[in-house]
């Protein structure tokens, strides 16, 4: 299985200011797990450790039952660091071809990279040098490089940073698609509303320590609400279970039954594609944001 197990891991920065200490963390295979915490909590450090890029001072990290570094060499881990990929004149297509070849041991099939790029909306970036990309474009390029070769475990560090709304929707659909394919995803972000839509579980990290690891409730307990510019007929047919109400200002409030929460990304994608606008997406009480505040408060009080 492609789960992640972190046991007794410690890592200390030079100068001794920060210390990562994770006694036990188990990331379920085939699930999307959110890594949540304030700045400096150790999310990036933990992701580098899990990716096999940074051996910890002590402890073990197993990915798919094998040491993380071994899995990395086998091409079994796709990682999109916060700042990635390196700038330069080489094109995204060249990098993607290389990484695919390195991970799979063979030249990627014709169209494989184009198909992946189309899914991420980066087709127009494929033949541009990485050094000429904006931050948001570079982020999307990094996502493409993390996913080439179809690694069974994907780690994403702040994947929504610098992304425009359309790209966020595409990313959401991509992550949900990975989950459907049984890929294990560990994703860190400060955008809790986004995490809430995609994550099955959430790991709260503070000052280098794991505060809690809990399920992100979905399904019947979590109805969602959108405020959109219009709810066209095609949308009414496709999401017949949705309840929609015109508002006085001409906008439309749509309530999506909770069982369809995973569809939220698709609804947004559909509306944006149809030229409509999505003004608000509201998730009900007990949200990840509320729980984040609660966990951090209890940590501060401890």
């Amino acid at each position: 299985m492609n789960g992640i197990r972190v046991e007794g891991v410690t890592f200390r920065y030079r100068g001794g200011g920060f210390r990562l200490e994770v006694r036990e963390l188990v990331v379920a295979p085939g699930k999307v797990t959110a890594l949540v915490g304030p700045n400096g909590a150790g999310k990036t450090t933990l992701l580098h450790v899990v990716a096999g890029l940074l051996p910890p001072d002590a402890g073990t990290v197993l990915v798919g039952g094998r040491p993380a570094e071994s899995r990395l060499r086998e091409g079994g881990i796709g990682f999109c660091p916060d700042s990635f990929p390196p700038a330069g004149r080489r094109t995204l297509r060249a990098w993607a071809g290389w990484i695919a070849e390195l991970r799979e041991g063979r030249t990627p099939g014709p169209g494989a990279i184009d198909a992946l790029a189309a899914g991420l909306g980066v087709t127009g970036l494929l033949d541009r040098p990485l050094g000429r990309l904006s931050r948001g474009q570079a982020k999307r390029a990094g996502l493409l490089l993390a996913l080439v070769g179809e690694p069974p475990v994907v780690l994403l560090d702040e994947p929504t940073a610098y992304l425009d709304p359309d790209a966020v929707v595409l990313l959401r659909e991509t992550i949900l698609g990975l989950r459907e394919r049984g890929v294990t995803v560990l994703v860190s972000s400060h955008h809790l509303d986004e995490l809430e839509r995609i994550a099955d579980e959430a790991v709260f990290l503070s000052r280098g320590r794991l505060v809690s690891h809990e399920r992100v409730p979905g399904g019947a307990a979590r109805p969602c609400e959108l405020v959109v510019s219009a709810w066209p007929g095609e949308a009414r047919r496709r999401w017949s279970e949705a309840d929609w109400t015109p508002l006085e200002d001409g906008r439309v409030r749509v309530r999506v039954p909770c069982a369809a929460e995973a569809e939220l990304a698709r609804i947004e994608g559909f509306l944006l594609g149809a030229g409509e606008r999505v003004y608000e997406v509201r998730l009900p009480g007990g949200s990840l944001e509320e729980r984040y505040r609660d966990r951090m408060d209890s940590r501060d009080g401890a």
């Binding site: 890029l53 916060d82 990635f84």
Partner: protein, 238 residues
Amino acid sequence: MVLRAVFSEALRGRRVRWGWPALAVVSLLMASWAAERGNGAVLGTFLFSGNFAILCAGGIPREEYRSGRATALLLGGVSRGLHHVGVGLAWTTVFLGGSFLFAGAMRAWALVSGRPPLSPAAAVGIPLGFLSLLAAAWLLGVLLPSWTNVAAVVGIGIALRMVEGYPETFGVFSSLARLVVGSSSSGSCTLAGRDAGIVLVAATARWLVLLLLGALVAETRFAARRLGRVSLEAASRS
């Protein structure tokens, strides 16, 4: 494929693009000054090769990790050891290419100006004599931060040369030092024929041994932790 990727990416660094052409200009100026005293070609080539080696010693492995190039390749499944070898090969190619070009230019210049030219053995031998210093610098570059390895390489180089130069004092250590830095009595400028061949093969062998040793060191947990910190700290600051 892996080596090609590492090799090609290592040639993207600023030091490759700007460092050695700048050194060539400085060395050329020094050589033209020294030429009036009759030894410009040899001195210029020594200067170029030596300065180039020191330029490389200033943290090439770490620069690769800091820039994100190494991280990108590691994420593709390249091992740290193989990355070390690839970077070493790329830099050696640049080094030898630049050095031979420079030595050739020096030789041509001397011939045209009617001065004693650099011998072909010297033109090849002087740069090769610096190869082990380069490989040692990369090895230390894996372990030591940035420019401290320059001091380490220069210090170790001088110490080994002294030990090697006084066999009557240092005994067996003198022989061991000779394995690393070569023999100071086999001045490659004056060697010819079979002797020159032996010296050149020995210099290449020393380089290869130190390069592979560097790859082994890069594979250790200790080195991986240090290099991992470099890339993580660079990523955190960007």
